[in-house]
């Protein structure tokens, strides 16, 4: 059961990822990325990370991708014109390289003896593993400092984005 779900979601993720990087129209890329994010969220659920799955959908797919779509619409880009030969060549090269390296990685992974694999079927996590409460407690106890710093970071990012994108940035006086 799990394996089936994993296979479907994994395939979907990979396919949409490939679509993201290969579409000519940026809007199509953005939408493919959304699909990819959804499938990854599904994978999170499989991995007992419920809180995180919800966050992924809310923040990533909901906010970040909306921002991307917004910018694409704002800049009103037309689809890229591509050089067919170049693209094919690049695709071939990168595809081959990826496959080659993946094979290597897989072999390495498989080489680990079954005994050392932490993926023992009997490894069942606690019932509230990955729940809002557990993760929340971690955030506010062990990881309180990074949590606060991230909020500072977000503030900086907001200010920075506003300043950089302002129309009157480069004119005299602020």
């Amino acid at each position: 059961m799990e394996l089936t779900l994993f296979s479907i979601l994994g395939a979907l993720a990979l396919a949409s990822a490939v679509a993201t990087i290969s579409c000519r129209s940026p809007i199509r890329c953005a939408l493919s990325l959304v699909v990819c994010l959804f499938s990854v969220a599904g994978l999170y659920v499989l991995l007992q990370a419920h809180f995180l799955a919800a966050m992924q959908l809310l923040v990533y797919a909901g906010a970040i991708m909306v921002l991307f779509v917004f910018v694409v619409m704002l800049l009103n880009l037309s689809p890229e014109r591509v050089d067919k030969a170049k693209v094919t060549f690049l695709a071939a090269v990168s595809g081959l390289a990826t496959l080659f390296i993946t094979a290597k990685v897989a072999r390495i992974l498989m080489s680990f003896s079954p005994g050392s694999q932490p993926a023992v079927p009997g490894n069942v996590p606690a019932p509230d593993f990955g729940s809002v409460g557990t993760v929340g407690r971690l955030l506010f106890k062990q990881f309180l400092l990074p949590f606060e710093l991230v909020s500072l970071l977000l503030l900086v990012a907001v200010v920075g984005a506003v300043v950089i994108a302002r129309k009157r940035f480069w004119r005299e006086g602020q």
Binding site: L14, T20, C29, A49, F68, V71, E80, V105, V135
Partner: protein, 102 residues
């Protein structure tokens, strides 16, 4: 192989990373490059969460949480820069942005 294990997730994460990396290297469009970067970040997140599950430690999920926050900040600032550059150069092709060449 037939039982779902940690390393399946790790391999998937690696593939997503590779795809994202190829996307960054190959695409000319700056926005699509940023999207590929998001893809890579997601791949990293997936790895974190997988390890968290299989080690029984939610710290991995916390890490993924932080990465998400960072990705948000980075996307915001990156897109702001893209907009600013677009205003100047009227194009988003990164191979036109070579003023720093040496």
């Amino acid at each position: 192989m037939l039982t779902l294990g940690l390393y399946h997730y790790v391999l998937l994460s690696f593939l997503l990373l590779a795809i994202g990396l190829v996307g960054v290297m190959v695409r000319r469009n700056a926005i699509v490059m940023l999207m590929s970067v998001e893809l890579m970040l997601n791949a990293a997140n997936l790895a974190f969460v997988a390890y968290a599950r299989y080690r029984g430690d939610e710290a991995g999920q916390v890490m993924a949480f932080f990465v998400m926050a960072l990705a948000a900040a980075e996307a915001a600032v990156g897109l702001a820069i893209v907009i600013a550059v677009f205003r100047h150069l009227r194009t988003l092709a990164v191979d036109r942005m070579t003023q720093l060449k040496g």
